[in-house]
Amino acid sequence: MRGSRRVFVLITLGVPFAFYALFVLWPFVQAFIYSLTNWSGFSPEFEFVGIHNYVALFQDDIFMKALRNNLLLAVVVPLVTIVLSLALATMVTVGGSSTGSVRGLGHSSFYRVVSFFPYTIPAIVIGLLWSQMFDPSNGLVNGLLTSVGLDGFKSFAWLGEPSTAMPVSMFVIIWGFVGFYMVLFIAAIKGIPAELYDAARVDGAGRIRMTTMVTLPMVRDTMQTAYIYLGILALDAFVYMAALNPSGGPQNTTLVMSQDLFNTAFKKGQFGLASAMGVVLAVVTLLFAAVVFLVNRLAGRKAN
């Protein structure tokens, strides 16, 4: 029996893990090694150049611009998405009568189902759809704005102006995710024991106090998860930016590290440098997750 169990574990765990190690873990390790070389990919030979690639990256204005764009995305996109989805979720769950037991809003399943639609649309299609919506002359956005008399928008290039390209790109990502997190928050709010709300109500708490004193502390862990997921997504953002502004936007205002990496590797063939970009991206991602954990920890200690 022991022997057969060992065979069972070896096959059920060993085979999938070997596969995973070959296609995921091993490339991760290799990326660190390549990042220390000047490998161009076309010749089998390469030299170790130490941290030369990293030094080059931090002196590269375009990469630093992309890094700053990613950091901006990682701050704004999760924040706006979470605030908006939590507000909508709160309205759905406790928007009903304030007397008697806590009651949700009537017909709320309609809002829930509709808001979730964008999550079922592939990101590349979301990007395409909105690049058409924001098209200077044929897009619906300018069509609606000019039809209400705002002629200044007649052929306004939302994605071509340095001042609007980034905010519009952020809006598109946020549009894609609010519904998903709204549903997640609705589930989290409904998981809060009703007694907590009843007790707060007996104490005379109004809606706003109930939200700040009961809902927010109870969904804090869901918010942390959401912040990390959205932040990781914003630090990537490749597919949205590739669809909205394939070349990085006006004056590189929407260029992100992943686009720079992709071009450096598969268009310029500088695989060593591209791997170093990947390492920077990974380190930034891990630091970001660590900061979110830390902030949540500190906020939790303060609340208790």
Binding site: T12, F19, W26, T120, F266
Partner: protein, 298 residues
């Protein structure tokens, strides 16, 4: 579970005539909520409706005004998207790659999660964390070496190669999500099955796996959506046009510029891509939301 009760409560609101002094404030809050939620619903739906209508317009009509309705239903856009832009072929490729990857990753992921959960051994914790690491690191870190791993195996620009990478990158999430499910299953049932003479394999396949069904369904849905939407892996590893998947076919519209784009076909392509998944979602939305709330309550 309180979730289901709460859902029922919201879906069948009791029409109570409120006579308390707060009811005016209540009405204001309820009205405001409806207004805000309706505005958001419009922001979500309007682009979809516009794309749907535009997909029936001629190129001339698309350039004339974004607000006009199509003069007559222009089904050529659909045949053009399907045939000339090869979306039919790309859809077929997508289905093959995603379905194959989904079946394999569910089997491998369930087996690994089950083994990890039921038979811990010295070192299994390390394996678990190595698997979790795959969830934390961005795919972008791996993409360059992965290109050469596939090249060396002769799998670059092949559908099986793409499918294999899909399996590998969906694997950590699958294990991460299924592991708690198998942990929570009662050991006694497996032990009873083994006393009755079932071997390890039968216990896993015929007794424990069926009990983890709710978890399997939820993971399969999320894996499907994730793989169906995957963009970076095919763009980097599958550059042969005859083997494009749907997301690549759509991306080609974005990389073409200006008048070279057949806008009618683009809109029709968006509809072709969005509608099937949207219909499946509307049918299964209750299960999906159920699994989401289960995930958060755990």
């Amino acid at each position: 579970m309180s979730v289901t009760e709460a859902t029922q409560a919201t879906e069948h609101p009791v029409p109570v005539k409120d006579q308390s002094p707060t009811s005016r404030g209540d009405r204001a809050v309820t009205t405001t909520s409806h207004v805000v939620l309706t505005i958001w619903a419009i922001i979500v739906i309007l682009p979809l409706v516009w794309v749907f209508l535009s997909s029936f317009k001629t190129t001339g009509e698309i350039f004339k005004s974004p607000l006009d309705l199509p003069s007559k239903l222009q089904f050529e856009n659909y045949s053009s998207a399907w045939t000339d832009s090869h979306l039919g072929l790309y859809l077929f490729n997508s289905v093959i790659v995603v379905v194959a990857a989904l079946v394999v990753v569910m089997v491998l992921g369930a087996a690994a999660a089950y083994s990890l959960a039921r038979y811990p051994f010295p070192g299994s914790g390390v394996l678990y964390y190595l698997i979790l690491a795959g969830l934390t690191f961005p795919i972008f870190l791996a993409i360059v070496p992965l290109f050469f791993v596939l090249k060396n195996l002769g799998l670059l620009n092949t559908l099986p190669g793409l499918s294999a990478t899909y399996v590998a990158f969906a694997f950590p999430f699958t294990v991460f999500f299924l592991y708690p499910f198998f942990r929570a299953l009662p050991q006694e049932i497996a032990e009873a099955a083994e006393i009755d003479g079932a071997g390890e394999w039968r216990t896993f396949w015929q007794v424990m796996l069926p009990m983890a069904r709710p978890g399997m369904v939820a993971v399969a849905i999320f894996n499907f959506l994730g793989l169906w939407n995957q963009f970076l892996l095919p763009v980097a590893l599958n550059t042969d046009e005859s083997k494009y998947v749907l997301s690549q076919g759509m991306a080609r519209f974005a990389s073409q510029a200006g008048y070279a784009v057949n806008f009618g076909a683009l809109f029709a392509g968006v509809v072709i891509t969005v509608v099937p998944v949207l219909i499946v979602y509307i049918i299964f939305q209750r299960q999906l939301q159920g699994s989401l709330s289960q995930g958060t309550l755990k």
